[in-house]
């Protein structure tokens, strides 16, 4: 029997509220809308659920030009027209020219699949409204072949959004909603340990301390996120930097080593430098 409750995986730390959200969505077959700061693992969640519950994963990445029907199917009229010119045999069946989208493939799956609709806020503001019936009833109609496609098993649908656009109420009503908060220091400690099991605890403590210090700098344009912290630690490990180097006792070295992984634009680097400098001076 396959696992039915999600409790995080060996490479993904799920907080109790997140587990609850996922399990409720799985049990009731409702789409789960995930929001949160960039880099908190929204997109990764779907892959981890699929892995933990041993389900196939279908991904549908939304772009600004995406239309709702791209996820269902597309009718390739042009190649059929071409084929008819060449007198090919397969031109007689319209089915040969219907290209399935991710949603259709997920509906077709033999076991309950996981479907990720990534960054739904990138699309046009009417996009979510065009998917209401599909997500509600888990079925749609193919006009070209006059067949009704129904989901064999209600897929576990995860939808991520970066808040670039507000989503329509009718759509929100049909989803469960979870906001991934930025992890607190304890959870962050766990997350880093999951990714770097052999990390010395001394280095980890120093790295986390400087990370949270950078994050708490007021006025940063882009706060570093979990994924950036992981990159940074990877760099520190690769360069074999000793924990002492991270301790900001040296007044000349104001910025943490390899800060390029944490601060992504020059205004932020500059701002951070100034603030650290002021703090140091005030401390004396």
């Amino acid at each position: 029997m396959t696992e039915t409750r999600f409790t995080g995986t060996d490479s993904y730390v799920a907080t109790p509220d997140l587990m609850m959200a996922v399990n409720a969505a799985v049990t009731l077959g409702r789409p789960l809308l995930i929001k949160g700061e960039p880099g908190t693992g929204k997109t990764q969640l779907a892959a981890e659920i699929a892995r933990a519950l041993q389900r196939p994963l279908y991904e549908w990445h939304i772009k600004s030009t995406s239309k709702a029907h791209h996820g269902l199917y597309e009718y390739d009229a042009v190649s059929r027209l071409r084929a008819s010119q060449l007198g090919e045999e397969k031109v007689r069946d319209i089915r040969n020219y219907i290209i399935k989208g991710s949603l259709w493939e997920a509906f077709d799956s033999n076991v309950q699949p996981v479907l990720l609709i990534d960054e739904i806020d990138k699309a046009d503001i009417e996009f979510p409204n065009d998917l209401l019936r599909e997500l509600d009833r888990m079925e749609f109609f193919v006009h070209e072949t006059r067949e009704l496609v129904k989901a064999r098993h209600r897929p576990i649908i995860l939808i991520t959004s970066n808040n670039e656009k507000e989503l329509p109420d009718a759509f929100l009503r049909r989803c469960f909603f979870h906001y991934i908060r930025f992890p607190d220091a304890d959870t962050m400690d766990q997350i880093v340990r999951v990714h770097f099991p052999n990390l010395k605890s001394e280095l980890l403590r120093e790295a986390l301390a400087s990370f949270f210090e950078v994050r708490e700098t007021p006025g940063l344009r882009k706060k570093p996120s979990t994924s950036e912290l992981l990159d940074w630690i990877k760099l520190l490990l690769a360069e074999d930097i000793p924990p002492e180097a991270l301790r900001g006792s040296d007044a000349k070295k104001l910025l943490p080593v390899m800060h390029g992984a944490l601060l992504k634009n020059e205004q932020d680097v500059h701002l951070f430098e100034q603030i650290v400098f002021l703090n140091k001076r005030a401390g004396r």
């Binding site: 109790p16 509220d17 609850m20 959200a21 399990n23 409720a24 049990t27 009731l28 409702r30 809308l33 929001k35 009229a77 042009v78 027209l81 071409r82 010119q85 503001i125 670039e164 656009k165 507000e166 329509p168 109420d169 929100l172 009503r173 049909r174 989803c175 469960f176 909603f177 979870h178 906001y179 908060r181």
Partner: protein, 415 residues
Amino acid sequence: MLVRFFTDLRAGGVPVTLPEFLSLLEALEARVAALSAEEFYYLARMAMVKDERHFDRFDRVFAEHFEGAEKLFEKLLAELPPEWLKQLTERLLTEEEKRRVQALGGWDKLLETFRERLREQKERHEGGNKWIGTAGTSPFGNQGFNPEGVRIGQGKSRHRRAVKVWDARDFRNLDDDIELGTRNIKMGLRRLRRFAREGAAEELDLDGTIDATARNAGLLDIKLVPERRNAAKLLLLLDVGGSMDPHIKVCEELFSAARAEFKHLEYFYFHNFPYERLWKDNRRRFSVVTDTWTLLRTFNPDYRVVFVGDATMSPYEIEEPGGSVEHWNNESGRVWMTRITRHFPRLVWLNPEPEDRWQWTPSVAITRELVGNRMFPLTLDGLDRAMRELKRRGGTDGGPHSRQATSPGHPVDVS
């Protein structure tokens, strides 16, 4: 009691609908949450709140409504169907523990005693050996030590108790009360859409293809056309004066909505009233400025101009040279405004102050006159009227000003 929670949420400003409430009940019935206050809190929030800005309101109502969450769960349990409780405990107990349950006379006996005690018990209880409560050795309760105990609620540790989760009110700064959300603004701005075909040809032109194929004696000749895009051009001029501070939020919303909706969007800032210079970066407003003459030369009259400002200032700031509060202006604001309105026939002024207050400020009346009475309040209705106004003037395409239009393709009105 949950129905009252639902109505309290609505009264507390959380936009919950009946289907969402029903889905919470459905989830409770499907036993998604174990019987702990914390899990109930997460489940309720997930099912009924769809925007992190409302989390704080939800937390407040929740805290008020379920003051003393333990009591709540005692009450809830009294209403529980016995099968539910039985299944729950069966899941939680090991085989050995289940055998020990028999020591008390089996499940039915246990549950009967349980209900009996619920009836007897009136108050919250802790540490005893008979009543249902926490940390005791009674067979019922949480965090107890009796192996025969039915564990009620899965308080994982005493330090992360559910009550704290909502009492912490971590989402306080995400809460705001905007009546004019980005989405609403976008819907308003949509009135301005003018679709035109521009850019790379990437869409199949079905009519063109059929036509060309027919002319080609039946041999397929595919025609492509560029995709239709919104070709309306917008010039946004925003007041960043001190009196605008209370309206920053709504201006940001307007700005971000406009930015997403228009491909050709330009914006400039001014302080109180436009004079001979405008700027794009408010932090460098004295060093990097744009000459208003340059603005008039750069942008064609087919740009639609939207001023956003409260127009609240001393009348001298409009009428007199040197009236500006920040610098010496050689020509009065009135002169500059007249130049701008003359150059851009399609222009409106959005005022975030409520319309009924306008009459009390003389400068608002003057500004209104200067923009030809095209001042609208920054509300949904006002935005709608403003867009209609911009559109109406848009109908005069081909007038004396359109000679400068340089955009490729001919914009077509379709909406």
